[in-house]
Symmetry: none
Subunit: 219 residues, 4 copies
């Protein structure tokens, strides 16, 4: 530890006070995050979160009014991240586009890890459930809008219900991470994307879009 020579003397390295408080808060948030994912929300006590963060029980309550608030602060920043992305069709190879979006989304979810706690919470916490339902409706609307545009350009199947397609897409996108986990395999985003595209586009459209993209990149 060469750069730490100063430590040999005996001073207090300690950060500015504000920063230290933020560190502690962060430690608690991370401890909570980890434990919620590891053991579930209910199974995690405030005492444990504090201990795991290396602070006393009471300290937990300096930073959060209760366990739920810690959870909320975890979710708040992340609720949008939890939602699947809204692709913009018709300008590129839809399979690659989707695969790419799925992978990004998946990575985000993995970083958060909270999708694992949500199922436990939504049934108990109607306020949270409402927030989620709203976010979901929102993203649903956006995706659907994109599909309708695509339909107007005659890109999609003519006879499928786009609402149902939207729902299926979201469902699949949200669950890709779980699939990966279970199957152990990684990186079949492209296979998933292909399957989703079959729900949306007739094969000839997919072909056409792929061809166009290939031509573009030929330049």
């Amino acid at each position: 530890m060469p750069d730490r020579e100063d430590q040999l003397v005996g001073e207090f390295p300690s950060l500015p006070i504000q920063e230290r408080a933020q560190l502690k808060r962060k430690a608690l948030v991370e401890s909570g995050h980890a434990l919620f994912i590891l053991k579930g929300y209910d199974q995690t006590t405030a005492k444990e979160i504090a201990a795991n963060a290396g602070v006393a029980t009471g300290t937990f309550y300096r930073y959060f009014s209760d366990k739920r608030q810690l959870l909320m602060s975890l979710l708040e920043d992340q609720i949008d991240e939890l939602m699947p992305p809204e692709p913009n069709w018709g300008t590129s190879n839809p399979e690659s586009l989707l695969a790419c979006l799925l992978e990004m989304h998946d990575k985000r979810l993995n970083e958060l890890g909270l999708s694992r706690v949500l199922p436990e919470l939504l049934p108990k916490d109607s306020e949270l459930a409402d927030v989620f339902a709203a976010a979901r409706r929102n993203i649903h609307a956006k995706i659907l809008k994109g599909l309708i545009k695509a339909q107007e350009k005659e890109l999609t199947w003519k006879d499928v219900d786009l609402d149902t397609v939207t729902w299926s897409m979201m469902l699949i996108a949200e669950n890709v991470p779980k699939k990966m986990e279970q199957s152990g395999k990684k990186a079949d985003y492209h296979e998933v994307a292909k399957v989703i595209c079959r729900m949306v586009f007739p094969p000839e459209v997919i072909e056409k879009l792929k061809r166009e993209e290939a031509e573009k990149s030929d330049f």
Copy 2:
């Protein structure tokens, strides 16, 4: 029991003792079922279950070693029902077939209602999670087998990953009830079936199968 001779006179024989016990057990199971669905597993106390079943708290523990066991006995019978059915492709209009299967499956799930408690439980109870994963793998295998057969008959897309398709189908099938709930609409099973079929079959196959079925019923 000499002092009980009087029983011969004034009492209804009621049910054979065995049967009465089974009635109580059943009452408990149903009470637990209802309350778990209504309030969630954790939020339901053994006392409530017993009270709601019209028996004493202690009686609960005569029939079940603990709350978890009651849950297990609820799930045991039902775990297979929770799984989507495995259609047999190639012999009929796949959309109608799927729509029909989805509806049946949905109805079964509705009767059970337990799909609502599962998310709460799976993260906490790894044993249960394992059982579920196994069941899911099982049904996955069956569906996949069916799809592979269909692929051999050149019914399916040639270039999609059937494993991924299987997974998507299960996912959608499992979530149809939730969709209905949220959207409020009923009975768009057929739309869902149509979308699923797009994932599996090229349009010409669907056409062909539909035509064949129409001809069959012409006879």
Copy 3:
């Protein structure tokens, strides 16, 4: 089971179930009573009350929703007892009458012992304070009525404010027990009664009433 001879063998003496529950409740009430008086309300924990009553903590909560409820049930029966009695003037030696009433009242208070907790509680518990204020107003009104009647019969001082007299009487009556405690002396009820009578009656009235009573008992 003719006359409980069987009890000689190895029986459970135990009371009828109802009665036992009542015993337990009573034990808790008494334990709470004792501890409240001994250590004050706030200083007494539910756990202590339970332990002191020989039951588990949880048992406390079977019988009372919380500590306050136990207190309330202590007070409810007793709030009337806490109030000084309303004498009926003009028909007997007022000093003896008062002395007697004071002694009775004092004895009742001693049995309850709760007057010691009240000062701690009234400032914190406005509901309780209201109940008490009402009870006090009630008894004040009764005593005052008695004094007004006496005044109409020209028994009392003509120039004192009977409301003030009433208040003073109540105050003294309520505090006699404390006085006894502190001074260590017992049984100066009669002295206190004499002093109170000076507040109410002119000396000639007292003389007259004493004389009348003496004559009565002469018969």
Copy 4:
């Protein structure tokens, strides 16, 4: 203090350090005083007292070893003030004298306001209780002495127990503020004084003393 030369330049000398400390102490005392009266002793936290005094929590403990000590320092100066005054009989209209003393006493109590916290504290804090009992005995002795002198001058009732009278007087004097509060009325000190005088002096003495005073002021 060599490194503090800079202080000579840019800082207000503000107050001498000693004095500043005393200001802080005073702020704490006043904050405690106000909050104890407002919310009661137990219901007031050290943190609140500090915040309300505009200092940090820790500062509280520089000036007081604990919450109790702050209370004590509040009471110490005031315990004598809490006690009713000892009138000097025989030289003036006793009713006016008493009324005046009562009013003064009442005002002092109002300024202190602590009489409201005492009931909460005395049961918990036997040391405090002892101090109070001592103070009370002290004032009791003084008042009693005055009454005995008056008795020797044949001013008082001959047949009442002066100890009891003393006690009654103190009791009433201590509770006048509460009476005022409850009744809403103000300034019936004179009525209370009249009633007290009835306990002490026969009517003819009161008349005589009043007359004498009237003559005095005739000059």
